[in-house]
């Protein structure tokens, strides 16, 4: 599993938007909205949600 975190520039409202892309075997599994803690594209399984929760808890996300 490979992931990629992107902090994207200002939006219409001048806000920053942080997303986290999770890929498995070269395919996008989920594009995760770090601010609102919701999937923007794809869906997160229970296992993946736990993993995201762990990383957030450790302050790595």
């Amino acid at each position: 599993m490979k992931n990629y975190q992107a902090n994207l520039g200002d939006d219409y409202g001048g806000r920053l938007m942080a997303t986290w892309h999770v890929y498995r075997k070269g395919k996008l599994v989920v594009k995760w909205d770090l601010d609102n803690k919701k999937p923007m594209r794809g869906s997160a399984s229970k296992k993946l949600l736990d993993l995201i929760g762990d990383l957030e808890h450790k302050g790595q996300l």
């Binding site: 490979k2 520039g9 219409y12 892309h21 070269g26 996008l28 909205d33 923007m40």
Partner: protein, 178 residues
């Protein structure tokens, strides 16, 4: 969106070719940043990231990855900005519907929104085309507003009006009243 080809141009930028055309992405936005002393040694489309990103290696063996969304965001792609705007509006709508004490049917009735459309707004993945077209149009209108104003001014041959000062009360030289 997948990257088709990636190259380095002579303007200190990557050139990313996608289905939307060739988009530049400057070195200045990347981390680690390529410099004259530490140039890009190799750049490739990252297959592990579903060809949605490219990875580059510097002479010092440092590596960096850039996602296509960063490229689209830098180039202010209207479709990409529309999707982000619609996503944020959807979140806001969900938040307000959740905070409201009104039943959903009543909100739908007051908004005069088709029931199917309102229910679809619950799904974050749903992007309404009409809103998207509006958002993209607003973006384009904002950009072209200055140019359009100049065109209209030129067409109507409008001139800036000279500021009017107070009326002179000094009698005219021929002695007639003002």
């Amino acid at each position: 969106m997948k990257i088709r080809t990636i190259s380095v141009n002579r303007r200190k930028a990557f050139e990313v070719r996608t289905s939307k055309g060739t988009l530049p992405y400057p070195f200045a936005k990347t981390d680690p940043r390529p410099t004259g002393a530490d140039p890009v040694a190799r750049v490739w489309i990252d297959k592990e990231l579903d060809s949605e990103a490219f990875t580059y290696a510097l002479g010092s063996r440092q590596e960096g990855t850039v996602h296509v969304e960063q490229v689209l965001e830098y180039n202010k792609d209207p479709d990409y900005l529309r999707d982000r705007l619609v996503y944020r509006l959807t979140l806001e709508a969900q938040k307000r519907v959740g905070a409201s004490s009104l039943p959903k049917q009543e909100i739908i009735r007051r908004l005069v929104t088709p029931v199917l459309s309102a229910h679809r707004s619950d799904e974050l993945h749903e992007v309404r085309r009409s809103t998207g077209v509006l958002a993209a149009g607003a973006r384009l209108r904002r950009r072209s507003r200055c140019a359009r104003a100049e065109r209209v001014t030129a067409r109507l041959r409008l001139r800036s009006r000279a500021p009017r000062g107070p009326l002179s009360l000094v009698p005219r030289s021929d002695g007639r009243a003002l």
